[in-house]
Amino acid sequence: MELLVASAIGALTAAGVYLVLRQRTFPVILGVSLLSYAVNVFLFATGRLVVNRPPILSDDAAGYTDPLPQALVLTAIVISFGMTAVVVMIALGAYLSGDDDHVDTRPGADT
């Protein structure tokens, strides 16, 4: 299970980094989303992978899973979701007003 989760995080990160290095905003945003999925799974795994155990301490449970990473992931998911929405809106605004969706500033532009 550890190998499966680790390679999933690796594959997501690799794909995310590749897409972030693209020139147009749409793949870049997809890449950022993939990276945030990768980090969410990674954060989830930081409490160690445990199956079928309660996330709270109780005397009759044989073991338990760490509840804190789940709370951290929830926060991270909410934040990355909001941030993705913001970047989509700004990128759309830039595309519609500039008629060009390249991430970098093109040569000859006046800035």
Binding site: V20, T25, V28, I29, V32, L35, S36, A38, V39, F42, L43, A45, T46, G47, R48, D66, L68, P69, L72, T75, A76, I79, S80, G82, M83, T84, V86, V87, I90, A91, G93, A94, S97, G98, V103, D104, T105, A109, D110, T111
Partner: protein
């Protein structure tokens, strides 16, 4: 327990929500509440400074959860100073945008400003690493709104780059925090410090990875080479008063480095040896060099000032990377100085650019309205930022140079700082003389062509009050340099005895 500690976060948060919900169509009310709120936070910040100045460390447990389980806010001398710095800068920026009408060029400026203040102050006050991430996101999401305030294609495009770059930085931050949590099982900074110090040597590999990743994250925030690419483009295209406010944002990165690498990964920690002298110091020197070369090579005033910010971060990071008490005291003085100096330059830039039909292009053109006054302000601010006597930049650089004697390769640090100062002087002199001085030469021709010059419009006084206020603070930082450096030495002494901080946060448990 005093609730004053949390007030600098609560007041702007409530005000911002109130502004969006009830005052969206009342700009005058927004202005009143915005300035009123900042002044209220300013008084609280002064109170916190007086209280923390005695050396006491105040801990505020959010929701009254005890320390390693709940989130804590901590006020010591360093965070109190940074909060005060933030509110002073925010007040100047708020007055400036009201005076120039920048806040009417788009919607929700003051609400975003309040959220920005809340995020920055929160980042300075928090004693929890994950909470630091959350406050980083708060200040970033407000800055995304501010940086594209009033729109325009160039601004939106720069905004996309800025947002994507910072999203990647946030992802990296989460990876770093996850790594540290996986090793230690805590994210409370004081608790982290205790547990990392207690780790056996053979288990510290992941700690080193986490520490390096964190340093990269803060390097993105502080715009250290080679992670500085976002800064010149974003700051040059942002509305200038917003860029002036962002002068404190790069300092958030510097503050986080000072805080985390004195408390959680103290200089004595074996696992993180070499991070500062092998990696951060050369990066800081390169940042300084590239920044000042950028000052020399810019064709637009906006980019010139943005590169000057990069350069001043380089000087600051040289002091931070030296990692001695004396160097950290010098770094604090330089933080105060460079925040005000770069903010003043951005505001003066805006005064200039708004009056010129050519915008910020550095080329000879007929003189602008109030040419003499603005030129004088530019002269003073440029002297301060370039580090020439008699203003605080000179003293700041002197302190950094003096502290660098403790570092390895002092000769290299001295050479780079002194040579880049020369570059900065030449760059600023070229820009200033082209913009303000040579304009007098074209005046007769322009006067002859235009038979009847437009009637002089009485300029708004508020922008000049704001810029003058910042310049006064710079002069005050110079005049009272003696008491200030004594106080900063006390701050540095407090930073380098993290045991007090840990004991204040974890209380009886630590004993």
């Amino acid at each position: 327990m005093s609730h004053w500690v949390v007030m600098p976060i609560v007041v702007p948060a409530l005000l911002a929500a109130l502004m969006v919900l009830t005052m969206r169509h009342h700009p005058a009310l927004q202005r009143t509440f915005s300035v009123g709120g900042i002044i209220a936070v300013l008084f609280i910040a002064i109170g916190l400074n007086v209280s923390a100045g005695t050396g006491a460390i105040h801990v505020y447990e959010l929701g009254d959860w005890p320390a390693p389980f709940g989130i804590v806010l901590v006020v010591d001398r360093l965070s109190a100073l940074m909060v005060l710095l933030t509110t002073l800068l925010a007040l100047a920026v708020a007055l400036y945008v009201i005076g120039t009408g920048w806040d009417r060029r788009g919607r929700h400026f003051h609400a975003l400003l309040q959220f920005q203040i809340m995020g920055i102050i929160g980042a300075f006050l928090t004693g929890d690493a994950f909470n630091l991430f959350v406050f980083f996101e708060v200040l970033l999401i407000a800055s995304y709104g501010l940086i594209i305030h009033s729109g325009g294609t160039a601004r939106l495009r720069a905004g996309v780059q800025y947002v994507v770059y910072n999203l990647l930085g946030s992802t990296l931050f989460l990876f770093a925090l996850g790594t540290l949590y996986a090793v230690t099982g805590t994210l409370n900074m004081a608790d982290l410090a205790e547990r990392i110090a207690a780790l056996p040597a053979e288990e510290t590999a992941l700690v080193r990875v986490g520490a390096t990743l964190l340093l990269l994250v803060f390097a993105v925030k502080a715009a250290i080479l080679p992670l500085h690419f976002w800064l010149p483009g974003s700051y040059a295209n942002a509305p200038a008063p917003v860029a002036a406010l962002f002068a404190i944002m790069t300092k958030v990165g510097a503050y986080a480095i000072i805080r985390i690498y004195s408390l959680v990964f103290p200089p004595s920690l074996v696992a993180t040896q070499g991070l500062f002298d092998i990696w951060l110091m050369p990066a800081a020197l390169l940042t300084l060099t590239v920044g000042m070369i950028g000052v020399l090579g810019s064709v637009r005033l906006e980019r010139l000032v943005a590169f000057a910010v990069v350069g001043s971060m380089g000087t600051l990071l040289v002091a931070v990377a030296t990692l001695t008490e004396q160097a950290t005291a010098a770094a604090l003085y330089y933080i105060v100085h460079s925040t005000f100096a770069s903010a003043a330059l951005f505001l003066i830039l805006d005064l200039t650019v708004e009056r010129r039909p050519e915008g910020g292009r550095i080329a000879v053109a007929p003189p602008i309205a109030q040419n003499g006054l603005i030129a004088g302000l530019f002269f003073a601010a440029a002297i301060a930022l370039a580090g020439m006597p008699p203003l605080s930049g000179f003293l700041g650089k002197l302190l950094v140079l003096d502290a660098a004697r403790a570092a390895e390769r002092t000769w290299l640090i001295w050479t780079v700082i002194l040579a880049t100062s020369l570059l900065a002087i030449v760059g600023f002199a070229r820009a200033g003389s082209t913009l303000y001085w040579k304009s007098a030469a074209v005046m007769p021709a322009a006067g002859a062509a235009v038979a009847d010059p437009p009637p002089a419009v009485r300029p708004a006084a508020l922008p000049f009050v704001s810029v003058g206020g910042i310049m006064t603070l710079l002069v005050a930082a110079t005049v009272f340099a003696g008491p200030l450096t004594d106080y900063f030495a006390a701050i540095a002494a407090q930073i380098y005895t993290p045991a007090n901080y840990i004991e204040a946060v974890l209380g009886a448990r630590a004993s």
